[in-house]
C-alpha cells in the first residue's frame, strides 16, 4: 500500500510538473538573493552558504506543504483514504515520502550547484548535500502534521509556517552545523548521527500525529 500511494502521488506530480518546478525555482531564487542583499564578498558568503541554503530549503519545503493534502481534500480522495481498510499511518507515511521525493530530492540535487555559486570547497559541498539528503525527509514528515492540522482553514498557508517552522529548528541547526563543522576541520559524524536519529523519531511519530490530525480536520 505504501508503494501504491507513493506511485499515485508521483504520477500526479508528473501530470502537474509546474508545481514541482515552482518549488525548485523558489529555492534557487531565494539562495541567489542573499549575495545581492549582503554583498558579494566571497569570504563572508562562503561562511554563510550552509545557513542560507538550509534556510531556503526549509522555506521551499514548507511552501509546498499546502499541496500535500489540500487537493485530495477538495476532490474527496482524502475522504476515501480515511475510509480505507489499510492503515492510515502507512498512507500518510507514503504521502510524506512522495512529498519528499517530489520537493526534497530536487533541492538536494540542486544544492551542490548553488554551493558553487558561494565558492564552497568540494568536501563542504559533499557534506551540504548529504546533510540535506538526511534532513529534508524530516521536513516533509514534520510538515505533514502542520498541513493536516490546517486543512481547509482560511489563511492555512501562513498558519502552517507558524506551526511548522519552530519545529524545523533542530534540523536547521544540525544540518547547517554539519557543514560548518566540516569546514572548521571538526568531524561532522555527530551531526549526521543526530539527524539520523531525528529522522527515525520523525518516521515513527509524525505519521501517527498526522493521521490523528487528518481525522480531526475531516470531522
Amino acid at each position: 500500500m505504501l508503494l501504491w500511494i507513493i506511485q499515485r502521488d508521483l504520477l500526479l506530480a508528473m501530470r502537474r510538473q509546474s508545481d514541482v518546478l515552482t518549488t525548485l525555482f523558489f529555492f534557487i531564487i531565494v539562495v541567489s538573493l542573499f549575495p545581492l542583499s549582503v554583498g558579494p564578498e566571497m569570504n563572508m558568503l562562503r561562511t554563510m552558504a550552509p545557513g542560507i541554503v538550509w534556510v531556503a530549503a526549509l522555506l521551499a519545503s514548507m511552501l509546498s506543504l499546502g499541496r500535500m493534502f489540500s487537493s485530495d481534500y477538495l476532490d474527496g480522495t482524502l475522504e476515501q483514504m480515511l475510509l480505507s481498510p489499510h492503515s492510515l499511518f502507512l498512507l500518510v507515511l507514503g504521502k510524506a515520502l512522495a512529498h519528499w521525493l517530489v520537493t526534497g530530492v530536487p533541492l538536494v540535487l540542486m544544492a551542490p550547484i548553488l554551493g558553487i555559486q558561494y565558492d564552497l570547497p568540494a568536501d563542504a559541498l559533499f557534506v551540504l548535500t548529504a546533510s540535506l539528503l538526511l534532513g529534508t525527509p524530516i521536513l516533509s514528515l514534520i510538515g505533514a502534521i502542520g498541513a493536516a492540522l490546517t486543512l481547509g482553514l482560511r489563511g492555512g498557508g501562513v498558519l502552517v509556517s507558524l506551526l511548522v517552522l519552530p519545529l524545523y529548528i533542530p534540523v536547521l541547526i544540525f544540518g547547517s552545523g554539519a557543514v560548518e563543522a566540516s569546514s572548521a576541520g571538526l568531524g561532522y559524524g555527530a551531526h549526521f548521527s543526530l539527524l539520523g536519529a531525528f529522522l527515525l523519531v520523525a518516521v515513527a511519530f509524525s505519521p501517527w500525529a498526522t493521521a490523528s490530525s487528518l481525522r480531526i480536520s475531516m470531522e
Binding site: 500500500m1 501504491w4 499515485r8 504520477l11 500526479l12 501530470r15 502537474r16 487537493s71 477538495l74 476532490d75 474527496g76 480522495t77 475522504e79 476515501q80 483514504m81 480515511l82 475510509l83 480505507s84 481498510p85 489499510h86 492503515s87 475531516m218 470531522e219
Partner: protein, 204 residues
C-alpha cells in the same frame, strides 16, 4: 447488522437532529430524506465513522464502529458528495487506485471492462478533467462494481446522471440487495428499488 441508537448531531450551535434510531438488516435499503440542511450528509458521514455523533452510538454486527476501525472499512463503501476522483488521472488510473485503496486491487483488463459497463468505453485513457460532470460521476460509481463490501453508503448517487445511468444504478443496487447487501442512501430523485425491506428515515 447496522444499528443506530439515539443519534444526535450538533453542528456549531445547532442541533441538526436528535433521537435518530434505526436498524438495517441484510438485504435492506434505507433512504434518508429531509430538506436541505437537515443533516443527511452529516448522518451518512457518521455512519462511515468520519465524524462522531454528539450522543448515541452506531454499531455494526453488534459492535460499536468506533472500536472496529479497519475491519469495518473492509465492509463499507462510501460515495460522498465529492466524487473522489483525481482530475489529472485517467478513468482507468482512478478506478485502479481507488479500488486498491479500498482493499480490492484490480488489474487493467478488469478496470477496462468495468468502465465499459458504466458507459465510458473509449474514454478510459482520457484525463478525468476533460469528462463531463455525469461521466465523472460514472467513474466514481464504477467503484461499486468492483467492491465486495456489504454496506454501501451513497450520498446523492443520482445527481448529474442521465436516465440510462440511473437505470444502471437501479439494477446495480437491486443486484447488491438481492445478494444480501445493504444500502443507505440519500436522493432527491424518485427511484423505485426492489428490496427485501425498504425503510424511510425522515430527518426534520
Amino acid at each position: 447488522m447496522l444499528r443506530g441508537n439515539d443519534l444526535v448531531c450538533v453542528r456549531g450551535d445547532r442541533r441538526l437532529f436528535e433521537d435518530v434510531n434505526f436498524f438495517l438488516d441484510a438485504g435492506g435499503i434505507m433512504r434518508v430524506s429531509g430538506p436541505n440542511g437537515s443533516g443527511k450528509t452529516s448522518l451518512l458521514r457518521m455512519l462511515c465513522g468520519l465524524s462522531l455523533p454528539a450522543h448515541g452510538e452506531i454499531s455494526w454486527r453488534g459492535t460499536a464502529i468506533r472500536s472496529l476501525g479497519g475491519e469495518y472499512y473492509n465492509e463499507v463503501t462510501y460515495l460522498g458528495h465529492l466524487a473522489g476522483v483525481k482530475d489529472e488521472l485517467t478513468a482507468i488510473e482512478n478506478l485502479r487506485i481507488s479500488s486498491a485503496l479500498a482493499g480490492a486491487e484490480i488489474g487493467e483488463d478488469k478496470a477496462r471492462e468495468v468502465l465499459q459497463y458504466v458507459g465510458l468505453g473509449g474514454r478510459e485513457l482520457l484525463p478525468v478533467k476533460v469528462l463531463s460532470q455525469g461521466q465523472k460521476k460514472r467513474v466514481a460509481l464504477a467503484r461499486l462494481l468492483v467492491s465486495s463490501t456489504a454496506l454501501w453508503i451513497l450520498d446523492e448517487p443520482l445527481v448529474a446522471l442521465d436516465t440510462s445511468a440511473i437505470k444502471m444504478i437501479k439494477d446495480l443496487l437491486e443486484q447488491h440487495l438481492a445478494q444480501g447487501g445493504m444500502v443507505v442512501m440519500t436522493t432527491h430523485q424518485e427511484i423505485d428499488i426492489a428490496a427485501a425491506t425498504i425503510q424511510q428515515l425522515q430527518l426534520a
